[in-house]
């Protein structure tokens, strides 16, 4: 019995020592080591945003274009892996960045929320909305409801929800309680009104959270979500499908609206930024990276850390 305890304690202390040793040894970063590339799965919206942001959009949904031997993980998985893997590089949404890893400056701009909002940090994409043209809703209540929803996006209540879902809201002023007097439609019983949401599927989670939080505040209207992609955002509210069965009241796009997608004045706007940050281990000597270098890492041109011109 005593022997067993002694053996057990020895084993535990041995393990502890191994762990300790490695935390103290090898603190220097060896730039001749290979880069371990981490990525999200092809179904991830963050991956689409990242690949488009580094000019490697083809790789958003195509693994065969990436450097061989890449590791696939989810957002948290990449974050925790980078705490451990000295020679790894990955990307996460800016909202989940913390000091356990190093977020790289992109094209010379530090990855901070302030830099996203003042539009200097460029590894990001806008989350935009578009609503139907005035008088094209079929009923006045529906139009007023939709406009109340858009007003709600700009409140602190709305931006809290956006923040919660991992995006960066534009600066909000005032709460819903401050402005609800301007939206009399919300005092009515709206349980028979259906508001249809569509467009970008990257914004689906945020849109659902927003509509389910807003419905009880505004007469309990029914929200119908059918998110099929950014290009349907404009098409189904003011474009070619605006009068079809697929017509929507609110459309979303996770990119800038194209020149062909400019609608009536006051029907389009931005609700948030989706910012992405390239991260490395805290011991990595790299502090900043350019768009070209990131692409070269992900397509396999740069194999070891010293390939990157700092």
């Amino acid at each position: 019995m005593r022997k067993i305890i002694i053996i057990g304690l020895t084993l535990i202390s041995a393990l502890y020592l191994v762990g300790c040793d490695n935390n103290q040894l090898d603190t220097s970063f060896d730039a001749t080591k290979s880069i371990t590339v981490y990525t999200r799965d092809t179904s991830s919206g963050t991956r689409t945003g990242f690949m488009n942001g580094i000019g490697f959009g083809d790789a958003a949904e195509d693994n065969s274009l990436l450097v061989s031997g890449f590791v696939t993980k989810d957002n948290t998985g990449i974050l925790t892996a980078m705490k451990n893997d000295e020679y790894g590089i990955g990307f996460i949404s800016l909202a989940s960045l913390n000091n356990t890893v190093k977020g790289l400056a992109f094209n010379g701009v530090e990855p901070t929320i302030a830099n996203v909002i003042n539009n200097t940090y460029s590894l990001k994409r806008p989350f935009n909305y578009v609503i139907r043209a005035d008088g094209d809703y079929g009923s006045l209540d529906k139009e007023n409801l939709t406009k109340a929803f858009i007003a709600f996006l700009g409140t602190i209540d709305g931006s809290d929800i956006i923040n919660d879902k991992g995006a960066i809201p534009l600066s909000a002023t005032g709460t819903w309680d401050d402005i609800k007097a301007e939206h009399n439609v919300c005092l009515k019983d709206n349980s028979n009104i259906v508001i249809k949401f569509g467009g970008s599927d990257s914004i689906e989670k945020i849109a659902k959270a927003l509509s389910s939080a807003f419905a009880p505040k505004c007469g309990g209207f029914i929200a119908e979500h059918d998110h099929t992609g950014s290009s349907d955002g404009f098409k189904r509210t003011q474009g070619s499908e605006k009068d079809s069965d697929n017509a929507k009241d609110v459309g979303f796009a996770s990119r800038d609206f194209k020149d062909t997608e400019i609608g009536d004045i006051g029907t389009q706007g931005q609700l948030a930024w989706d910012a992405i940050v390239a991260i490395v281990n805290n011991r990595n000597t790299l502090n900043a990276i350019t768009q070209e270098s990131l692409k070269s890492i992900y397509d396999g041109t740069y194999k070891v850390w010293e390939d990157i011109n700092q």
């Binding site: 762990g19 490695n22 981490y38 949904e61 195509d62 065969s64 031997g69 890449f70 892996a81 893997d85």
Partner: protein, 320 residues
């Protein structure tokens, strides 16, 4: 009221007790039917969903070639949502390879632990250890996964660095094998222990009477007699290793091509491939995961048949 009851009795022609019997039998029958039909419904559902990619044109992407699917060395050639060139050949090899390696670690440790609990340890210690084993088997797989990604990945990464290999953050075959061994250990220990305890006392005493030492008896007689039960534990252990998804996907690295045979290479299993992106994806990329599910069920079935065959071959000595 009295009259109606009387009337019923006459119609049924049976006493109250007999009626209760019939009722209870009916309830048993219905519960058996429910549990059996759930399995059948699941199999039908997965088969229908999983066969679709091979027989339909998948909204213009074209049929998935079944031969290419079963032998492929790349998960998906081309872009997701616009290609039907899926392949799981390398993942089948990875999965079986990982399950066998983890069995090679968990079997010896599990069986020796079982022997210790059943035969060697003093009573109080053996009760304590048995409780520990039962607790271990009740830990959900996500906890093993978090332990794996928080502790085992770090250990593997540091160990690889010590021996001069640059591992990919510890995500590797060996990390997966270690996590799976930990997970199948309680199953193997618990079932082996029952098998070892049910070895007849007279066989053991006979061996001791012939002059064998305790150790000789334990290894050559007790273990040999319990081998059928020990094999049963191996079958369940492999089942757990083959079927685990959550914990594996946190430590495997989820490679998209292979097979990965090197211990420090990243890998992927059938289950981790099914799980990855499942909540985000649509269309063929979603349906194909059910096809992977069918492959997994066949792999598990084949492994069980082979192990059962071996189990019958090695036979058993009188086990009560």
């Amino acid at each position: 009221m009295e009259k109606t009851l009387e009337c019923f009795k006459r119609i049924l022609g049976k006493s109250k007790k007999e009626n209760i019997d019939i009722l209870i039998r009916g309830i048993f029958g219905i519960s058996a039917l429910i549990s059996a039909s759930v399995i059948i419904i699941i199999i039908i559902f997965i088969t229908i969903k999983g066969v679709t990619p091979f027989i339909s044109y998948n909204q213009g992407l074209g049929q998935v070639n079944i031969f290419r699917f079963l032998t492929g060395r790349v998960w998906l050639d081309g872009a997701a949502f616009s290609s039907s060139l899926y392949g799981v050949g390398f993942i089948i090899i990875n999965t079986v390879y990982i399950a066998l390696l983890s069995l090679m670690i968990s079997m010896p440790i599990g069986v020796l632990t079982a022997l210790f609990i059943a035969k060697v340890a003093p009573q109080r210690l053996s009760i304590f250890l048995r409780t520990v084993v039962e607790l271990l088997s009740a830990i959900p797989s996500i906890v093993y996964g978090l332990f794996g990604s928080g502790v085992i990945l770090v250990l593997v990464y540091n160990f690889a660095e010590l021996v001069g290999i640059q591992s990919k953050g510890g995500n590797s075959v060996i990390a997966t094998v270690l996590v799976l061994s930990l997970m199948s250990l309680p199953t193997i220990t618990a079932i082996s222990e029952v098998a070892i305890r049910s070895v007849g006392k007279d066989i053991e005493l006979g061996s001791l009477a012939l002059g064998a030492t305790k150790t000789q008896t334990n290894f050559k007689v007790v273990l040999a007699s319990a081998k059928s039960g020990i094999f049963a534990s191996a079958i369940l252990g492999v089942g757990r290793a083959l079927g685990e998804a959550t914990a594996v996907s946190l430590v495997a690295g989820n490679s998209k091509s292979g097979p990965s045979l090197g211990l420090f290479d990243i890998t992927s299993t059938l289950t981790s491939t099914m799980l990855e992106g499942l909540k985000e994806t649509t269309g063929l990329d979603y349906d194909i995961r059910f096809s992977v599910g069918i492959v997994l069920m066949i792999v598990i079935l084949l492994t069980n048949i082979i192990l059962n065959y071996v189990k019958r071959k090695v036979g058993s000595v009188s086990v009560k």
